[in-house]
């Protein structure tokens, strides 16, 4: 892997860094510390700036109008985009646009017309409905939501939990069991319109997270046409699994960005805050915290960029993505904790961003597969696929 950035990558990183510092941070000064969205005028203005930068919709393949950026560059950008208070779960408050649901790029032409293209045009929103109350770490076996064929339709009953964006979505990808005795081979992915009778968003699930709250869904005799099966019947788990592996790279990048910003604030503070007649930075206890921050950040950056580089080269990257997610989420949690400690009482106030990062970063060791699952993936890879 080449560790030196290309000239183009350096320019893009510098551009995004300037954007965050000159456009996002000043607005954030006037928002509630738990805010996850900008005022509509600001959102529209900044979205136009991002489009002018050529970076809007980075997750969209170039064939569908997205910028032609490789995964390494997108990772570098994601590290920059999250360097503000809301950055972990609302990087730049969404003004860089989303990718839509990446699985829809594999949809058939009819489904693309009805769901993908309207999503890319900003006319429709989707959600990803995988996790259920019975568990999220082993989705293939935990899925209890059932779909039963009835004529040309499927009738779905069950529920989902920890689903982001379902209350504001026009449609969603819902994974349901279509064969009781086939384990991961008995799951199918359905595209579900949220106006369908029997689709319910029952409540918000309140968590440590300030941005992009989760919801609980219930399906009661929800009738979905067979034409809304995404991919093939009983092959939905592969769709979910591909997403889980790919998502770990930007997920890691977000952790790194917050750690970088927290570390930067702690470095500045340690130089100016004096105790017993000398700056904090002169104390070995503080120096070692800062050194450990630096090490955690570098490890996470290298691991994440290596996974991104493998993905760019078309090589297997599941183990490296799991390692990146593990190293970044756990390392960044330690960094935020140390920076909070260095800031003392101020660190736990809402005057500073650490308390939000501290809360939201805790979720990162669970979301997108907890640390234990990442270790399991790595163990399976190094010991052989037969390990279960």
């Amino acid at each position: 892997m080449q560790l030196e950035l290309t000239e183009e990558q350096s320019l893009i990183v510098a551009m995004v860094r300037r954007f965050v510092r000159e456009e996002i941070l000043p607005l954030e000064m006037n928002l509630d510390p738990d805010a996850d969205r900008l005022e509509p005028d600001d959102e529209a203005r900044l979205t136009d700036i991002v489009k002018g930068m050529g970076l809007y919709g980075m997750g969209i393949p170039p064939d569908y109008g997205g910028p032609a950026l490789d995964m390494v560059t997108r990772t570098l950008v994601a590290i920059e985009m999250s360097q503000h208070r809301a950055g972990l779960y609302a990087p730049c408050y969404g003004v860089f646009g989303g990718a839509g649901l990446a699985q829809l790029f594999e949809a058939n032409d009819d489904q693309k017309e009805r769901y993908l293209y309207p999503t890319l045009r900003g006319e429709k929103r989707g959600f990803f409905g995988l996790t259920e109350p019975s568990g999220g770490s082993d989705p293939a076996r935990a899925i209890q939501t059932k779909a039963v064929k009835d004529g040309d339709d499927w009738v779905i009953n069950g529920g989902k939990i920890f689903i982001s964006g379902a209350d504001r979505a026009d449609y969603g990808l819902v994974f349901a069991r279509t064969s009781a005795d086939k384990g991961r081979g008995g799951v199918t992915c359905f595209i579900v319109d949220t106006e369908t009778p029997g689709f319910h968003v029952r409540r918000i699930v309140h968590t440590l997270r300030s941005a992009h709250y989760a919801t609980e869904l219930q399906f009661e005799d929800m009738r979905v046409p067979a034409s809304n099966v995404l991919g093939e019947v009983n092959k939905g788990f592969a769709i979910a699994n591909d997403r889980l592996s790919r998502q770990r790279i930007p997920y890691s990048a977000g952790c790194i960005g917050v750690a970088v910003k927290a570390h930067e604030l702690a470095l500045e503070y340690a130089k100016v805050r004096e105790t017993f007649g000398a700056p904090l930075s002169s104390r070995q206890a503080i120096q070692w915290m800062l050194v450990d921050n630096e090490i955690d950040i570098q490890q996470a950056r290298w691991a994440t960029l290596e996974a991104a580089s493998l993905a760019d080269r078309g090589e297997p990257f599941r183990k490296q993505a799991a390692m990146a997610k593990l190293i970044a989420s756990e390392g960044a949690s330690r960094v935020v904790d140390r920076c909070m400690q260095i800031h003392g009482g101020y660190g736990v106030t809402k005057d500073f961003p650490f308390e939000r990062w501290y809360r939201e970063m805790r979720i990162r060791r669970i979301g997108e597969g907890p640390s234990e699952v990442q270790r399991h993936i790595i163990a399976r890879d190094i010991l052989g696929a037969s390990l279960r």
């Binding site: 509630d32 969205r37 689709f199 319910h200």
Partner: protein, 106 residues
């Protein structure tokens, strides 16, 4: 957690409001029939939290009830969304800016 605030209605007067803490959270204002007319939030920008917010509403409603909640942002949205799910409209005093981007419960 109940979708509605489970605390009892209290008269919106200086004595009741002065007894409140300055924590962050959500609150509802009601008319004489205890019909909700406004759902509000004491966020981290509030001076003196729920007490400060409700002081500003003295004389504008008859009853209030509140809930201390550190997840005040999502709780505020949930209360508004729940109100809409039940009544097919938002409380009369909540503005478009407060409700325009909300999702739906059903």
């Amino acid at each position: 957690m109940s979708l509605q605030i489970s605390k009892p209605w209290l008269p919106l007067d200086e004595i009741s409001v002065a007894s409140l803490g300055a924590q962050l959270g959500v609150y509802e204002l009601a008319d004489e029939q205890q019909r909700v007319v406004y759902i509000g939030v004491a966020d981290a920008r509030s001076h003196f939290g729920l007490r400060g917010e409700l002081e500003q509403h003295l004389g504008t409603a008859v009853f209030f009830r509140c809930e201390v909640n550190t997840a005040y942002a999502t709780r505020h949205r949930e209360l508004l969304m729940h109100y809409f799910a039940v009544n097919q409209c938002y409380p009369v005093r909540n503005t478009q800016a407060e409700t325009g981007s909300l999702g739906r419960l059903s």
